[in-house]
């Protein structure tokens, strides 16, 4: 496959961005749909090229296509290169990004119809897709970081897409800043790794880590630094607070960026650098623990949210935690020697990325479904929905499939990928397995709570008359149906094997007791949700009352927003330390400057009294001076 075509995969969307912003927006603003078509065309071609790359990679030795790279900056001995590489991991991500992005763009044609910022929307979406594809293809950390920040920027722009809403502007800023805090660690880690190895190249870094050329504390710190970047992007605890707020953006944005692709970039990064992580027990254990904890922690908050998108957001955080858990536990297995290095490296990546792969489809579908629902009802608040099953059968059906997939029901996609993670944690870090299995229960509960609240029962909204409950237009439904198909079959695609993981037969998976355990827990969750919200055997209100403290804890998100924003950011930093420094600057430093000036003037007002205006006094002074000089000459000669 020619290198130009590989570059075209990520350059095409950039090109589309350029066309939209420099040609379509200024000159064809009256035909906004054009920008949608350009975006879709660009991403469609990227998808085709990605599939071609997939075919090429599966035939290539070691599943790697080597691509030429270019010198970005050369200063003395320091040569910074940029380039791309196509391997199994990258190509799987390419498929995910291009296909989900394509579906979302088509959906957006309907969803964003009539919005004043239609062109801008598609320009940003193109920019995002290009950056994300570049991130996936980058073969060195610096180049990756370039796109890493690029997707962050697009996320900022798209969360704040409706910038006239104060919450959106605020959420956008929050997202950027929290991820940037993580990126601080990432950048430091890049510098540290370069200082120790003299390269940014990921392949070389992997080899050096595996051969032990870098190790010990340096490696641990570097890995932790990289993980802090990944945690910021993937909204892992304690940097998770931005993602739920990011739901202020348009729903297709949430589907693409904040469910399927960008937030998964953190997981991708850990997978990319997996040999480095696996070489440090401390680092990989951190990944596993943070992942496992985030999974259950986020799920707990998802249980009680009333905003459908927020439930999905917490679900995303939780599922990303799963992916980290999968990577982490296999890594722990490697470093504790339960599993051979060679096998483990492939397995870890396969486990984590397989879930990323399936999750991308069903989670983006869930978001698109939520968008479709709000398109009809004009709200995201589930308390004002209900009974939409009849009005929106297609939406309901696809949403149900995605939910089942998320809950991990055999034989849908989520089952297969989640199974791998559960197995890994069961084998290598049993403690985290228990957390994970509880999370399975919670996942099933909250997603079916959504289904019962939204689609079951009777319509509770007030907006019906003006809006009219109706199914979404075909342009929105088609992508949903396609994604629904993928949410069913994605687990059966040989992605896992392609990445080097273990294969499962269709029914063979059910022969493992572990599968039944998770199915039982998931079923339990669904049943409980039915009991409370479907059949109303249990009253949600009385349950809420009984567990009031816990409910408050969950619904107030453990007070993390208050802790970070009010206490830490505003009280401690901006109005505390920074205010003190501001005062210091105005009064001490500038005070010293003005003080010197004022002192000079004060001395002047005193000393000027010597200037009496009396000519004779001056004359006297002159002769005193002459005598003094003469005296000096006598004394010193």
């Amino acid at each position: 496959m020619p290198a130009e075509l590989v570059l075209a995969i990520f350059l095409l969307p950039f090109f589309s961005f350029a066309i939209i912003s420099f040609v379509l927006r200024p000159f064809f603003n009256h035909r906004p749909l054009l920008s949608g078509y350009v975006t879709i065309a660009a991403i469609g071609i990227s998808l085709v090229l990605s599939i071609w790359a997939l075919i090429e990679v599966s035939g290539a030795p070691h599943h790697i296509l080597q691509m030429p790279d270019y010198e970005w900056v050369v200063i003395g001995d320091t040569v910074i290169r940029i380039g791309v590489t196509v391997d199994a991991l990258a190509v799987v991500m390419l498929i995910v990004v291009t296909s989900v992005s394509l579906m979302v763009q088509i959906y957006s044609l309907g969803y964003m119809k009539g919005d004043g910022g239609f062109c801008r929307y598609f320009a940003f979406m193109s920019l995002f897709t290009g950056s994300m594809l570049g991130l996936v293809l980058a073969d060195n950390l610096l180049f990756l970081f370039l796109f890493w920040e690029g997707v962050g920027l697009c996320s900022y722009l798209l969360i704040g897409f409706w910038f006239h809403k104060p919450e959106a502007a605020r959420a956008a800023m929050k997202a950027f800043l929290v991820t940037r805090l993580g990126d601080f660690g990432f950048l430091a880690a890049i510098l540290l790794l370069y200082a120790k190895t003299g390269t940014f190249d990921i392949g070389e870094l992997q080899n050096l880590a595996l051969t032990g050329a870098i190790g010990g504390t340096v490696l641990t710190w570097a890995a932790i630094g990289v993980f802090s970047g990944a945690a910021g992007k993937s909204a892992q605890f304690p940097l998770h607070t931005w993602l739920p707020d990011a739901m202020e953006g348009p729903t297709p944005v949430s589907a693409l960026i904040h469910a399927a692709t960008m937030v998964a970039a953190g997981v991708y990064l850990v997978a990319r650098m997996f040999p480095v992580f696996a070489s440090s027990t401390t680092a990989i254990t951190t990944v596993a623990i943070i992942g496992g904890f985030t999974a259950i922690f986020a799920a707990s908050m998802g249980l009680v949210m009333n905003d459908i998108k927020r439930v999905l957001a917490y679900s995303t955080i939780s599922q990303l935690g799963y992916m980290m858990l999968g990577l982490g536990t296999v890594g722990v297995g490697i470093s504790t020697g339960y599993i051979s290095l060679e096998h483990g490296l492939a397995l870890g990546v396969a486990v984590g990325i397989f879930h990323l792969f399936t999750h991308a489809f069903f989670k983006s579908l869930l978001f698109l479904g939520a968008g479709s629902v709000s398109h009809a009802t004009g709200t995201f608040d589930m308390r004002e929905m209900g009974g939409l099953r009849k009005a929106m059968p297609w939406t309901f059906f696809t949403f149900l499939i995605a939910s089942l997939s998320l809950a991990g029901i055999w034989p849908l996609a989520g089952f297969w990928s989640k199974e791998g993670i559960l197995a890994a944690s069961f084998h290598y870090v049993p403690v985290l397995f228990y957390l994970a299995i509880i999370t399975v229960f919670m996942t099933a509960f909250y997603i079916f709570r959504v289904i019962f609240l939204t689609f079951g029962g009777e319509y509770r909204g007030t907006d019906q008359g003006s809006h009219g409950l109706h199914e979404s237009p075909v342009v929105m439904l088609v992508p949903m149906v396609i994604l629904a198909i993928l949410a069913v079959v994605a687990g059966l695609l040989p992605i896992n094997e392609f990445l080097g993981g273990e294969s499962h037969s269709f029914f063979g998976a059910l022969s493992h007791p572990l599968a039944w355990v998770s199915l039982v827990w998931a079923g339990g969750g669904i049943f409980l949700a039915y009991a409370i919200y479907g059949a109303k055997w249990l009253s949600a209100a009385s349950l809420r009352q009984r567990f009031a403290p816990i409910h408050t804890l969950f619904s107030r998100k453990y007070w993390f927003d208050e802790l970070y924003e009010n206490l830490f950011l505003m009280r401690l930093l901006v109005n505390g330390i920074f205010a003190a420094l501001h005062w210091f600057d105005d009064h001490i430093i500038d005070g010293a400057v003005n003080g010197i000036a004022g002192g000079t003037v004060a001395v002047g007002t005193v000393v000027r009294r010597l200037e009496t205006g009396q000519l004779q006094a001056y004359g006297l002074a002159i002769f005193v001076g002459i005598l003094a000089i003469v005296a000096c000459v006598f004394i010193f000669s």
Partner: protein
């Protein structure tokens, strides 16, 4: 001991010191001007003495220039005094403090 260079120089110094005292101590601006003339004469004596004892005519040439300046100074200085007197009705140097602070 015969009269030599030193004698003329000391005479010059004495005249200069007297003039200096007058310049610094007297209140009347005209007297101050007169004292300045004494100082200039003192300098002239020293110049001529040096000229005489070093066989160089330059000192005398300088004295001519000093005389020129002294004449000019006297003319301008007295004119100034008269101008000030017209304005302020006094020639008391201690009351001239326009340059104060």
């Amino acid at each position: 001991m015969g009269v030599g260079l030193e004698h003329f120089l000391i005479l010059s110094a004495v005249l200069f010191a007297i003039g200096l005292y007058g310049v610094l101590a007297k209140k009347n601006a005209v007297v101050i001007l007169m004292s300045i003339e004494i100082m200039l004469s003192a300098v002239n004596i020293a110049m001529v003495a040096f000229s005489r004892y070093s066989q160089s005519i330059t000192g005398q040439v300088f004295v001519i220039f000093i005389m020129v300046v002294a004449a000019a100074e006297a003319a301008v200085g007295l004119a100034l005094i008269i101008a000030i007197y017209r304005r302020r009705k006094t020639v008391d140097a201690e009351k001239f403090d326009l340059m104060k602070w």
